[in-house]
Symmetry: C2
Subunit: 250 residues, 2 copies
Amino acid sequence: MTAGMLTVVGLGPGDAAHRTRAAEEAVRDAQIVLGYEAYLTACADLTGPHQCVLPSRIGAEQQRAEYAVDAAAGGARVALVSSGDAGIYGMASSALAVAAALPPGRRPAVRVVPGITAAVAAGALLGAPLARDFACLTLSDVLAPWEAVEARLRAVAAADLVLALYNPRSRGRSWQLGKARDVLAEYRPGDTPVGLVTDAARDGELVELTTLATMDPASAGMHTVVVVGAAGTSRLGDWLVTARSLGTQR
Amino acid sequence: MTAGMLTVVGLGPGDAAHRTRAAEEAVRDAQIVLGYEAYLTACADLTGPHQCVLPSRIGAEQQRAEYAVDAAAGGARVALVSSGDAGIYGMASSALAVAAALPPGRRPAVRVVPGITAAVAAGALLGAPLARDFACLTLSDVLAPWEAVEARLRAVAAADLVLALYNPRSRGRSWQLGKARDVLAEYRPGDTPVGLVTDAARDGELVELTTLATMDPASAGMHTVVVVGAAGTSRLGDWLVTARSLGTQR
């Protein structure tokens, strides 16, 4: 049997303009394309009737990873697609863990094709808030106790890093962003610039500029990234810009 | 005079396969293409004799930003190109600051086209080390006192975030990575997985897996990103993988 291959593909923020050629080739070349339905729609222009395109429920990550690895172990060329970058809060971690647990003789080749992650897409729409040192944190407490999430938030806030907050709010998680804002306000002034980017490079794209004191958590949703400035971040007209130099011009 | 436009473009890690279509279109559509010579070479397949392609010295960032903004203010379509993402340790910050300082009537339109930044490219080659919460820090003390760099390093190390270290070493900066390793070793065990990725997606691409205790700073160079794992990061075969869950399975 021909050796199969699993490619874990990041499709970028949504619009085809922000996909890489490598991501497009990996999807076109696959015999089986797997992913949550919205991600398959985002690459529907790359797939055709000669391929097996299999939507899966969101949340069913472990099963999706197992199916993808099994299919590749059986000899198929499989593309497992995510939005953004598949390695950052994406499917690559589960898929690699499943593959690594197989005996060497059954383990398929796996590669990860990088994509434009949400923080980078949001940063470009806001200007250059990530220009020097930043952290990506998720506010989701689905896979972690809130105390652990909050401890990281406090450490990064105290270190004066720019923050990109993923998963700030969902239908089931309504209070986390308000709490995060209150925690950050213990460390940073109320006029700290904040940008909320929702549906970057998708229909309904929305960029909102606000401050830590005036941010309304209700304006964030499932597809929002919240960028919180540091001491070096200024609002310049409609842009958020962080200075490249540090500790000299505060 | 027609309104000009400055597009600050991230070309990704090097290979054309990791460029986005938006980045390619911005370069093709420009009348003037500006950038450090190596970046112009990386997009030479997109430019032609009808365009004005202007190399500039590395380090001459402020002048490059001023020239790009002035040319766009004068009515030209200008592409200012960087490797990786232009917003992350790139040219977007300086260009936006220069543009924002102009009087509104002379200020050109500016947009930033995102790219695959080095941490994301390195993460994909290593597996999925950035799967949950990470910080990007530069070890360069050219634009900051080392004390400020070290303070951030300590805060992130204590917070158990995965780290992507940019600019770990250059001809003029030889001791910073060794010092950073010693600082991190105060907070993390010696067997913490570390990945060094040099020239990602370029000729001479090199991926080295090591640990905090055994890492040799001399194996890093100007084009290396160093990824340092956290408590949730494991070495699985030839992959570095960080668990998506936190605080439950340590």
